[in-house]
Amino acid sequence: MILVNRRYRFSASHRLHVDALDEAANDEIFGKCNNPFGHGHNYELEVTVHGEIDPVTGRAVQLDRLDELVGRSVIDRYDHRYLNEELPEFAQTVPTTENLGKEIVRRLRAAWPSGFPHLERISIFETPRNIFLIGPTE
């Protein structure tokens, strides 16, 4: 068994704000991420799959198929968007990277072809210092 990590990039803006909380609580919890106009990140998404190495091709996953799958179901959807305003999944749900990660896993699983190597986890680098690992069933 081998793990293959493939990295993708998308740039998006978000605002961390929960309507159910008052202004002081939002400011206390989210700090500058609560700025009313939102702010952006260059997100990096690493998709990790596990599988067996094909004895003929030497590959554990067909990278062009993985790229197409992730591009179509995640990158095309989120790249250069304001998550709060443009994506219905974040109309009511605060787009923290935890929640974004759960949504990305849900989308990948929905698009995952049968017989494709298994999804092991995703890693989202919100910044080079803030890194979130999300398992395949979260």
């Binding site: 081998i2 293959v4 990590n5 003929v56 091709t57 554990a60 990278l63």
Partner: protein, 134 residues
Amino acid sequence: MLITRKAEFSASHVCRSADLSDDENEAIYGIAANPHGHGHNYVVEVTIEGDPDPVTGMIRDLKEVKELIRREVIEPFDHRFLNKEVRPFDRVVPTAENIAVEIWNRLEPHLREGGRLFSVRLEETAELSVEYRG
């Protein structure tokens, strides 16, 4: 506890299987099937699992691990065309997956006591890395 030592080598390879037709090779590997080969700056991370020695406080002397990686991997792989100069890549396609397995096979016999080999992670580009755990 896990401890990781990192090393780099630069090499060229071509991803092309003798068992496949030209069209199949190009469909599977894309530009990586270019018969003249192309190169990467590879990064290897060798991770060892063990308990710190009660006297030295170390799982294993990292100088020894550094020397082992240099002798078994960097020396034979660095600035080589893997398909032509490094066995078994004359007959095994040197994909990142297969290179990681080969590095594991070269290191593992030397890393059984005083820290056991846990994983070999190989980064081929910023976008593609693999991790093999035996």
